[in-house]
Symmetry: C2
Subunit: 198 residues, 2 copies
């Protein structure tokens, strides 16, 4: 039976969800697919390229249309969708965060963010920078949030007692915390532009 | 000769800088220090705790005084210092990003950010959230920046030609990009507060 590119990505996603990013090796993937490692390299020249394709799969919902009409609503919707994509897969945030540097993902998520900032009236060059700012914020937030969720389910969190107000005390709700940062970001764009913003 | 806690952290930092985070294992560290693994566990109950101590070492400069007098200057200075700390060690951004979730670092970096936001006139509870926003932005930015630097020195970057304007095109200067995000952040705080800000 022929091994298709999508089968390889399916297999990689299955290993990711069951064992995590650290166990996603070309050798293990070949074993799970019952093929020789060479069969994988026919589709992907190296692991970096495979991870790029896995990131594409994780980020696929970023291509769907946005419901919100105004730019700040659309940005908020896209940022939440990005966070949801990353949280859907075990180690999803870490994988995309580490893989993004290779720029091997074909996801147009960042460009959609930039295009939405342009709609706010920001020049293209600055909108590109703003899209990076938002992307980095979402990645940083979600890597931490997902790590804590996964540590928690593994019983590895050593949280201080609820009455603690020391350095380890947590703000209770990750979604509220995430939203606060998004509001700062959109407020920053508004303030930077002053009356130029629609 | 007695093995001190600081010797273990020194050894971990040396392995990190020479081989990277993936090769920083308790077994390898014990070998490098010429002790049995048990000698490490006398100082650190598990690898998570060791990584917390390594993060403390990486983040140590965050405790030093700030030169800037106004809150936005101080925030910018602290954010740059955090980025510099992470870039100083190989995989430093990834290590702190992954370790931060365990909340085992004793670094007061995030609290210093929050205290600086309070000086802007923001209520403590919101200032804590703003400090998380800034921390996540710096971590997300620096993980990507450092990954690209390290891929570049390993010859693993496959950048498109300079004339490309497609999805892989890079904004040229990571520091300028970083500063743009910081400006959006401080503008967001100013805008959110309106005339309440000093």
């Amino acid at each position: 039976m022929q091994l298709h590119r999508d089968d390889v990505v399916d297999g990689a996603i299955a290993i990711l969800d069951q064992y995590g990013l650290a166990d996603l090796t070309m050798r293990r993937l070949a074993g799970a697919l019952r093929v020789q490692p060479g069969a994988l390299y026919w589709h992907f020249p190296n692991k970096q390229a495979l991870l790029g394709a896995v990131a594409d799969r994780i980020l696929a919902p970023m291509e769907r249309p946005v419901a919100a009409g105004d730019w700040s609503g659309a940005l908020t919707e896209l940022a939440h969708r990005l966070r949801d994509c990353l949280l859907t897969y075990r180690d999803g945030a870490e994988l995309v965060s580490a893989t993004y540097a290779s720029r091997l993902t074909t996801s147009t998520g960042r460009e959609r963010l930039a295009g939405t900032v342009v709609r706010a009236g920001i020049p293209r060059e600055q909108a590109e920078l703003a899209a990076y700012t938002l992307l980095y914020y979402v990645l940083g937030h979600t890597v931490d949030e997902q790590s804590r969720m996964q540590m928690d389910s593994a019983g590895a969190l050593t949280d201080p007692p609820a009455e603690s107000t020391g350095p380890l005390a947590e703000s209770p709700d990750p979604t509220a915390r995430f939203d606060f940062g998004l509001q700062l970001f959109t407020a920053g764009i508004r303030h930077r532009l002053g009356s130029d913003v629609r």
